[in-house]
């Protein structure tokens, strides 16, 4: 129908990720993140109640579910931005319970936020440099002696420019991040997260508020992460995106995991359709509302 685009060639899906039958809490062949009995209540409301969850290494996993299902809360718990009422979880074998957010990030697990946190008062390049790890100049006493960190700064800048080029943000490098459009800021946040060479990238609704046309380039970047050997976990509502790039899907509802599996299988699951997808998923609403008589007939 439209001109052939690189994305039209269906991306290589990774299979064989699970051990046994696909069901909530199923073990993975090579998990990078393992969580046990994680729970969080807000007042009387159960926000998260996950018995067991394993995220497969080197694959792209989608976390879907209705609003209020606990997806962002689970993200916050796993990355140290919130404290659970109970539960343990480990990242590449290291126990993370009680580890503060900044330590989790420096261990290789980076996250983005639903409401983009591109730092508007810094330039694009400054944002990128801030993402780098182990810059000696960031320590108080060493910072007043530029000769101690100038070389590192140059190396960091080189890396930043290279990543910015890949994300097509290079010519905006000296602009304040506040002057970028919403979609560009999302790209910047993702690019910035890559500066520390993470092993696990967690994206919270990366497509929210981005035009459909820009969505494709964002998807390519996410697929690129997998090609480079990183593991991706993302929360999304856009089912087309999920179907297109996710190797594995985890469905949450009311704080619990109600289904797990490859995208096609999960989307046919009755519980998932009822709670989340709706029965009109692939139907033209014009037909449902009776505004058009037949799909192919024009008014």
């Amino acid at each position: 129908m439209s001109a052939s685009k690189p994305l039209k060639k269906a991306p290589q899906k990774t299979t064989g990720l699970h051990v046994g039958d696909a069901a909530p809490g199923v073990k993975k062949v090579d998990p990078i993140l393992v969580a046990d009995h994680v729970s969080r209540k807000f007042g009387g409301l159960v926000a998260v109640d996950v018995e067991h969850l394993e995220i497969p290494r080197g694959a792209i996993t989608a976390l879907i579910g209705p609003n209020g299902a606990g997806k962002t809360t689970l993200f916050n718990l796993l990355t140290g931005f919130d404290k659970p009422d109970s539960g343990t979880w480990s990242f590449s074998g290291e126990n993370l319970a009680g580890v503060p957010a900044h330590k989790v990030a420096s261990m290789g697990q980076v996250r983005t936020f639903q409401l983009t946190k591109a730092l508007g008062l810094l330039t694009v390049l400054e944002n990128m440099k801030l993402g780098a790890k182990d810059q000696t100049g960031e320590s108080l006493f060493q910072s007043i002696f530029p000769f101690l960190w100038r070389k590192q700064e140059a190396e960091i800048e080189e890396k930043a420019l290279e990543i910015l080029e890949r994300f097509k943000l290079l010519k905006l490098k000296d602009d304040f991040a506040a002057s970028l459009s919403g979609g560009q800021r999302k790209l910047l946040e993702m690019a910035r997260a890559l500066m520390s060479n993470p092993t696990l990238v967690m994206l919270d609704e990366p497509m929210a508020g981005v035009n459909p046309a820009l969505t494709e380039s964002l998807l390519e970047h996410i697929l690129d992460l997998k090609t480079q050997g990183m593991t991706v976990l993302f929360v999304e509502h856009d089912m087309h995106m999920v179907r297109h790039i996710a190797d594995w899907v985890v469905v949450m509802a009311e704080g619990r995991i109600i289904a797990e599996g490859p995208p096609e299988a999960v989307m046919k699951d009755e519980a998932v359709v009822d709670a989340y997808l709706g029965s009109h998923q692939d139907v033209d609403l014009g037909v449902v509302t009776g505004r058009i008589t037949l799909p192919k007939e024009k008014k």
């Binding site: 459909p212 494709e216 009109h280």
Partner: protein, 243 residues
Amino acid sequence: MADEKNVVVNVDNLVAGYLPGVNILNGCNLIAREGELIGIIGPNGAGKSTLLKAIFGQSKVREGAVYLNGENITGLKADKLVERGVGYVPQNNNVFPSLTIEENLQMGVYQKPDKYDEGLELVTSLFSELGARLKQRAGSLSGGERQMVAMGRALMMNPSVLLLDEPSAGLSPVRQDEAFLRVSDINKAGVTTIMVEQNARRCLQICDRGYVLDQGKDAVTGSGRDLLNDPKVIELYLGSLGA
């Protein structure tokens, strides 16, 4: 034919913006006829929300005019527009979380409290679930339910024109479909409806006519179906994953 029906909302070459010297709308035009469901789509920053806000007197109009049933309403404050039968459903912060659903609906008829019973009947006939939970605190509702309450509140004055800013934003697929179906039902009940949307596909599937905004101007316009199938619109705005 459709062209003979009255023009209810007429936006004429509108130039508007927020910061001094920076215009978001650069000569935007739009027409909504009686009983039509109009969709406004387009990239971020194109001015969709600004257009809606400019119609409702919430953003500075620098050039051009907005007409309601022939009357020039450019720059009129929101309360005057509500008096004239215009309803507005903002995207965020659209319910009072500390008030019950009933109280939220009562806020809808603030200008004419004696219209409450009439309005309540209309709203509960369209959204039966609201009628069953009138005493529930709006803050305890989910995103999709709040959406419903916000729409209901705007309908309490029985408006002739309804403006909606991204009614499906942040909702899961099943709730998004419900929101679109609700908008369609409202429009079928006789309300001229103008909706701004990010979910272009769904929006165009139900609207009579659509406007694609780009850089503050109405770049492409046509019937909903025509736009859905227009290859240029698909390439630039809908994205090829939509099918």
